[in-house]
């Protein structure tokens, strides 16, 4: 079946996580994504065969080019000529040093699109600062604002910044490609991952600028309308694992009635202190205490199903095993397609979160090892024959097998 982005070629200088997450969305939809890599010094967590790097780079091709020599840059320029968009997520100066900045590339291909996904963008006092996801999460307020009940900062145990940079980056690339298709014009996109993160904080920023109200940590105060009970509640241990929780959100009066009925209409629920949503929010600690008395006797999955059967928004707080194996919804929707790996065995990958009815995205090929597609890129993309390839080798632009 045809894929939505067939015919689009992406020259991908990105590394680590945010950039590869952006080009993954393009590759899954059929764009031809050619990673241009260093032979050594790849950012390594695990391997290209399994784990995060395998997931981020599926459906892509790889060639290693030595950008430190003129012949390497020249080879990269030849690839630019036959590409639609060049993407990088270096800090602002790297591409310029190589002669791969937008101004230089427009002389080679006037309608090229360049997207830089640097930490802070190419302007401003922090333009040249170095950052990874947690650096940006600290500066954007997520780290401190996500405080636990004792007030300890607990912001993201992982790099949400990179995932946000990824989805904003994919979107920006598509919008620029769309504009070029309409007008023939390329352009430069200066995406700041810092701003990508600030842009998903949401309405609380307006409460700050409009009402001048300092924002407290959200904790379990609902961000989508008043709710009580609302939060996570400890459940019965499952075997050795005491880290089991159920999330519950109760909003309307009818939610509350169904919730109470699902618990077997315990005496405490008719306490006048819980009669209205307003009162339940005022007496939240007492309410949560009663609810936890119930949940700690329940298996987390059972609690979810008892409450969902009554139409109450409730969920097991999924750990990796719940998510990857036990969740029947993700399984039924084909969210974990599997691929055969070159070394043998099959492994699942996360799909994109949407299905296009006519041109569904897919996971087709495992992540390439570095330089795996050298001959394919030189031969099929650039039409370079053996003699010229040997000359590139001799010039140190590419690497021997």
């Amino acid at each position: 079946m045809a894929l939505a982005l067939e015919g689009i070629r992406v020259l991908d200088f990105t590394w680590v996580v945010a950039g590869p997450a952006a080009t993954r969305a393009l590759a899954d939809n059929g764009a031809e994504v050619i990673k241009v890599e260093r032979k050594a010094g790849e950012f390594v967590i695990g391997t290209r065969r399994a784990g995060l790097m395998a997931d981020l780079n599926r459906n892509k091709r790889s060639i290693a080019i030595n950008m430190a020599v003129a012949a390497g840059v020249e080879l990269a320029h030849r690839l630019v000529k036959v590409s639609d968009i060049v993407v990088d997520n270096f800090s602002a100066r790297v591409m310029r040093q190589w002669g791969m900045d937008y101004q230089s590339l427009t002389r080679i291909k006037p309608d090229i699109i360049c997207m830089s996904m640097s930490g802070f963008g190419h302007s401003g006092p922090r333009a040249h600062h170095v950052s990874y996801g947690p650096t940006l999460q600290a500066l954007s307020g997520f780290t401190m604002q996500m405080a636990d009940a004792q007030g300890r900062p607990a912001g993201f145990g992982y790099s949400y910044a990179d995932m946000a940079g990824g989805y904003w980056g994919a979107l920006a690339a598509l919008i620029a490609l769309w504009h070029r298709r309409r007008t023939g014009e390329g352009q430069f996109i200066d995406l700041a991952q810092f701003e990508a993160l600030v842009s998903v904080i949401g309405p609380s920023l307006l409460d700050l600028t409009v009402n001048r109200r300092r924002q407290p940590p959200p904790q379990w105060n609902s961000q989508e309308g008043p709710a009580a009970p609302h939060g996570v509640y400890r459940c019965r241990p499952e075997g050795e694992d005491a880290d089991r929780w159920v999330a519950i959100s109760v909003r309307s009066h009818s939610d509350w009635r169904r919730f109470v009925a699902a618990l077997g209409s315990p005496q405490w629920a008719s306490d006048p202190r819980f009669r209205t949503l307003f009162l339940r929010m005022q007496n939240r600690d007492l309410l949560d205490h009663h609810i936890e008395q119930w949940t700690t006797g329940q298996d987390a999955w059972e609690a979810m199903h008892i409450l969902q059967k009554a139409g109450v928004a409730a969920a097991v707080v999924s750990n990796a095993e719940d998510l990857c194996v036990r969740d029947p919804q993700l399984g039924a929707r084909g969210f974990w397609p599997t691929l055969e790996l070159p070394g043998g065995g099959r492994t699942p990958f996360a799909n994109l979160p949407f299905r296009l009815s006519e041109t569904p995205a897919s996971v087709r090929t495992p992540a390439p090892e570095i330089d795996q597609d050298r001959d394919w890129v030189l031969g099929s993309v650039l039409g370079i024959e053996r003699a010229e390839r040997d000359a590139l080798l001799a010039a140190g632009a590419i690497y021997p097998d």
Binding site: L139, D190, Q193, F354
Partner: protein, 401 residues
């Protein structure tokens, strides 16, 4: 109005509530004509606080403002035949319709995919639902809390043996909105070839799962269940610590020798000079001890002293900030990230967060403040559909618009 947006000429009908509204916002920022089609009482988001000046009013909801900047608004009761008929007439000239109703709801109204596609074969329908349009949990009750729980996002934020901490902002919905916009752009590229639109089935649960970095890939690679570790990043590269006058985000993700020389120079390296610490895998596995040493090193230094020196050494350190400081952030100010939006009815301008990228040719723009309820009925229903003013008045009186 003179326009030069990348998405000029695209018309999007936006029937979403809070759950999908970001998709239309990001398209509108880039020039698409996004028409919010609301029930006559207004989108339920308009009843959601906080409100400007804390005065509850459908035209003062800050969540509505945030998600609906740059859109127009038309009111239509499409539960009734006349309203549905008008919606279908709008569908004729639209490229995209986005909705976030319960699965099956549009079909019940006689406005399902087959009906829409028959009227306009080039239309793309983007359906955003908590669990998508299929699967055993399709009709389960859900909010952002439940969906972050079921995506694996909640479980890995917070401290061991303590309740999981939820993200700042409605991140399940934000992932869905951004991936929705990506999916729409992909469908438009496919339409360029086929001339036909398609139906996008987007699951918010899956979108949020795509907003988690390591949980699934680590599980599939090694069977490891990722757990909460406070602010210690899952890959071991970062942890928040204390210095003399506040917090600092420590990082060992820069050049290790550089950091070690610095700490050693202060006589605070303790056992970190032992040879095993030069192995990155060892550092990752023993990160907790490493950061304990760094905490002791930092205890009598100021945050500023550490962060500034670190950045000159290309180490990705940062002083964590509060979201409350963002409007004064010198980097965001230098990049013009926040924009003044005039609300003439309120006689004031307000500072809005913008979009996270600078496009050299087709920058995102402020086209209009968020719409009042039905503000563009006359323009769209009168102007575009040619309904005479007296007939519009009757429709309004009958509650159709």
């Amino acid at each position: 109005m003179a326009r030069n947006g990348a998405l000029d000429g695209l018309r999007v009908l936006d029937l979403t509530d809070l759950r999908g509204a970001l998709a239309g916002r990001v398209l509108a920022d880039m020039g698409a004509d996004v028409i919010k089609v609301e029930p006559p009482g207004g989108d339920p988001t308009r009843r959601l606080g906080p409100f400007a000046d804390d005065r509850p009013h459908p035209d003062r909801s800050l969540p509505f403002w945030f998600y609906n900047l740059n859109k127009r608004s038309v009111t239509l009761d499409y539960q009734h035949a006349r309203g549905a008929d008008l919606l279908m007439r709008l569908v004729e000239s639209a490229d995209v319709l986005i909705e976030s109703f319960e699965p099956g709801h549009l079909e019940q109204l006689g406005l399902g995919w087959s009906v829409l596609a028959q009227r306009n074969p080039a239309l793309t329908l983007c359906s955003i639902a908590p669990f998508g349009q299929t699967g055993p949990w399709r009709d389960f009750a859900a909010d952002d809390t439940v969906l972050t729980a079921l995506s694996g996002m909640l479980y890995v934020n917070g401290y061991p043996n303590e309740p999981p901490v939820r993200p700042l902002g409605l991140q399940a919905y934000h992932c869905a909105g951004l991936y929705g916009a990506i999916a729409i752009m992909c469908a438009l590229f496919a339409r360029d070839r086929s001339g036909r639109g398609q139906w996008i089935d987007l699951s918010i649960q899956e979108a949020a799962a795509c907003g988690v970095e390591h949980v699934a890939p680590s599980y599939f690679a090694t069977g490891e269940i990722a757990r909460r570790r406070g602010t210690l990043h899952w890959a071991g590269g970062f942890r928040l610590g204390r210095c003399r006058d506040g917090w600092i985000m420590h990082s060992i993700s820069g050049d290790w020798t550089t950091l070690l020389e610095w700490v050693k120079g202060d006589g605070a390296a303790q056992d970190l000079t032992d040879p095993q610490w030069s192995d990155p895998a060892y550092r990752r596995a023993n990160a907790a001890h490493l950061f304990d040493v760094l905490d002791q090193w930092a205890a009598d230094k100021s945050c500023r002293e550490i962060a500034e020196r670190a950045q000159t050494l290309r180490l990705p350190y940062a002083i964590p900030r509060s979201v409350n400081d963002l409007p004064d952030d010198e980097q965001l100010i230098a990049r013009g990230y926040f924009v003044q939006v005039e609300h003439p009815e309120l006689g004031r301008k307000f500072l809005y967060p913008g979009s996270p990228y600078l496009f050299s040719r087709t920058p995102w723009r402020l086209y209009r403040r968020p719409p009042l309820i039905g503000e563009h009925n006359l323009e769209v229903l009168g102007g575009d559909l040619g309904i005479p003013a007296d007939e519009l008045a009757v429709l309004h009186a009958e509650g159709v618009c």
